[in-house]
Structure formats: C-alpha cells, structure tokens
C-alpha cells in the first residue's frame, strides 16, 4: 500500500539529489539518507500550521493572462500533514567501517598449504549495507585507512605487516640510492616480489607515495616524507604508554629512512605532547580511537586532560565541525575557556568523572 511522507530537502540541486538515494541504518541507529557522495540526518519536524498538498495546482504565473470569461479549474487536495522529515547534511559515520575491517586484518598471504584463517570479510556491497555513509565517503575512508581489495573483499592491513612492507620499500630505496621522489614501480616489484605479493608492494607504494609517470612512460612513485615518518612514529609509540619526549625524538629520527626529517608537526592527531611535565613526554593518542559522537568526544578528551590549548585540541575535534563551522565555534559550544599562565585554555563545561 502507498503512504506519502513529505520530506524537506535543502540540497542545492534538487533534481540530482533524487537520482539515487538510500536510507541506511541498523535497528539501533538513527536513519540517515545518502546519495552518491553525501550523508544526511533524517529528523522529524512538526508545525502547528496545516500543510495541504495539491498536485498540479497552478500559480498565477502559470495561468494564461485572460481578461475574458473567468475559468473554473477543479483541483484535488491530495492530502494534508502537520509534520515532515527534515534533511540535514552531516558527517558520515565511518568509525564502524574500520571496526568491521579490524575484525579480520590481513597480515600477508597464507603460508604454505594453509588456507587463510577464517574470519569475517566484507565486500563493497556488504559495507554499503552496514555503514551509514555514501559510497564516495566510504571509498575515501577506505583509502584513508589504507585498506585494499583482496579477492573481492576489502581488507585492512595488520599494522606490523604494513610496516614490514614499508620497510622493504625503504630499504630498497636506500640500497639503490634512489631519490625518494623517484621510486620506480617495476624495479620494486622485481626486487621485492619474491618477499611479498606484488599487489601488496604496489599497495604499499600507493599508500605512502604519490604515483606518476615519467617522460619514458614508466610508473614512478614519490614517497611522502610526512606519511612515512608518521607511520614510523606510530610503530614506536604503540609500544609504551608514555615516552620521554627528547629520547623519543632521537630514536624516531634514527628510525626513519636516512634523508627524511622527522618533525613533531607530522604527529597531529596521532600523538599528544605534555610540555607541562618534567621531563616533557609524548604518548600515542589517535583520533580514530576516540568516540565519534561530539559530546562523547569532548568528554573523552577532557577526561584525558583537564585543560587543553586550542592548538593541542584542534586536531582531535577538526572532524566534528559541521558545514561552515569552525573549531573555535565548537569550543565555544562545548567547552569553557580560561587563561592560565597567559595562555588561553579550554576545559569541560560539565564535571567529568575520571
């Protein structure tokens, strides 16, 4: 049977919005509406006014200009309503994507005659069904988490395995004395293909480098210094709760490929510095390990540290900003500011149980 439910949209180009839309959500989730590349929250709204729907009813500009006899046109009111659904653009809920893929990370091809250990695996269609985001948003996030498609399933790499692949590549760059910006794909596949599957070598280069073609049409990669150094830092930081900052910086610089510079600004959203402790320390704090919901995120950050400077907290709240919203506006809304030692700091608006 048919039921009409009016929806209010605020998309800039309405006709294109209706080419292909999907409502997504598990039973315990709020419904969202997705088109190819955006995600919208669905919220019911009501009005005290009566809304009448009249198909085909004309407005003055649509009626012929007649000075002759008056015309009577019958129009039928299709229905009426006091409420409607409102669409509000929102950031897609992607945390679940990594969570699903982490149920069964890929750590290399099965050894010898063994089959790969059983575990949940997801195709793109599976992900589209489970994740409250549009296809393009999902594809972009898969790239961000360095996932790759293996045998039709999207897999996230076990981090140690990913670092093993990167290690092979950087060691080869070193032994061949290549420039970081001129790493030839074909030689990498030839030299490293015996150690790891060629598809994995290429995937590693895609994650940590920018792909281009040179004048001879060869495929070359320019390694991304920031990405390589950042991954190396994560490898070091995940082994302990806290590190002495200066010791860490020394070990980190020694661990990155020779010729690359390890800089603290590469670690925004990955690590937290504590400059108030003596000695200064650094610890792993990844944004993807924090709650996705705005209020929960702020609670979590304020239970880790009572007072934050804007510079320190910014990388951990950047993704919470709505369309046209700044981190400053977010802080004004969810935190209270004060000045400590001449520096503006933010703390929680509500008491936090630590």
């Amino acid at each position: 049977s048919a039921k009409y439910c009016p929806i209010l949209t605020n998309h800039k180009s309405m006709e294109s919005l209706f080419i292909h839309l999907i409502i997504r959500g598990d039973k315990d989730e709020h419904a969202v509406l997705c088109n190819e590349d955006e995600t919208y929250d669905l919220k019911i709204a009501d009005t005290s006014n009566l809304l009448l729907f009249v198909p085909g009813c004309k407005t003055p500009d649509q009626l012929p200009d007649i000075s002759a006899s008056p015309q009577l046109v019958h129009a039928q009111i299709w229905g009426f309503s006091n409420c409607y659904w409102e669409l509000r653009r929102q950031r897609p809920r992607l945390k679940k994507l990594k969570k699903l893929l982490m149920e069964n990370p890929y750590d290399g091809p099965a050894v010898g005659m063994q089959e790969e250990a059983p575990g949940p695996k997801y195709t793109m269609d599976d992900l589209l069904e489970r994740i409250q985001a549009s296809r393009e948003e999902i594809e972009a996030h898969l790239q961000n988490v360095h996932a790759c498609e293996i045998d039709g399933f999207w897999r996230i790499l076990d981090f140690d395995y990913e670092m093993k692949l990167l290690g092979h590549v950087t060691q080869l760059v070193d032994s061949e004395s290549w420039s970081f910006s001129k790493v030839p794909l074909s030689v990498c596949l030839e030299e490293l293909g015996s150690l790891e599957p060629k598809s994995m070598i290429e995937h590693c280069l895609n994650c940590y480098g920018r792909r281009y073609s040179n004048e001879d049409g060869q495929v070359i990669y320019a390694l991304d210094e920031d990405k390589v150094c950042r991954a190396t830092a994560q490898l070091l930081l995940q082994n302990a709760v806290k590190f002495n900052l200066s010791e860490f910086q020394e070990v980190w610089q020694q661990s990155v490929p020779e010729g690359m510079s390890a800089r603290l600004d590469q670690l925004r959203g990955l690590a937290l510095l504590d400059r108030s402790s003596k000695p200064e320390t650094i610890s792993l704090l990844r944004i993807e390990d924090l709650p996705e919901d705005t209020l929960e995120r702020f609670n979590s950050l304020f239970s880790l540290r009572e007072k934050w400077t804007q510079d320190d907290i910014e990388p951990y709240i950047q993704d919470l900003c709505g369309e046209k919203q700044t981190t400053g506006a977010l802080l004004t809304k969810h935190a209270r500011s004060s000045v400590q030692n001449g520096v503006k700091v933010y703390n929680s608006r509500r008491p936090i149980a630590t």
Binding site: N49, F53, T59, A75, W78, F80
Partner: protein, 124 residues
Amino acid sequence: MGFCVFCSKAGEGPAEWLLVELQGEVVSRQNTGLAGNLMGDLHYTKEGVPVLIVGHHILYGKQVKLEKPFAVLMKHSGLPRDEEETMETNQENPTSYTVSALIKKKLIFKTRPKPIITNVPKKV
C-alpha cells in the same frame, strides 16, 4: 540493517505539486470528515494575490518560493498489508520509496480569516 531505495521515475523528472499552508485547522461543517468534500475556492487577483474562500471565511495569502524544497515520497512496502506493523525489512522484500513529486513553492495564508457577511441588516 534495513535499507530503502529511492529513485525518481526513469526518464521524466518528478511532477511538481503545490503546497497550501494554513494556520489552524480545517474541519467539515457537519463533522463528517474531510475526504471527498469541497474545501473551498482558490482565486487569484489580477496582481497574483491568492485568495481562499473556505465556508464563509475569506483568507488572503501570498505565494512564496520554498528556500528548502519538499519532496513527496511514496512508500512501497514489499510486505503484505497485515505484516506492515513491524519495521523489519528483509532482503527479499525490501521497502523502497519513490519520489512522487517535488514542491518548490507554496501559498501561505497567514492572515486571520475574515467572515463574509452577505446580509447586513439595515439600521432601523
């Protein structure tokens, strides 16, 4: 895990409907319900002002372009009628929606309805 798919009719775009917004309630004279009854007459003046006559009231309104257009959706449940109470959908009978119409403008009647008095007794 339910998902519902919207799509516009292939080829043509959706039809355009008009929204008429009234303050308050419309009731039928003998409380017989609204369905099937004549609601009233909609006129436009030469200047394009919409005028609505409902019963013995007259309302003046205006045409407004909706900043956020409406879409009217028709739900197609794959389930037989008596099973519609549950919100569950399953793979074989997914619920889908089609866009039946778009509403880009409305006639809004915000002024207080004025009674039309046709018989004014003369002062004696």
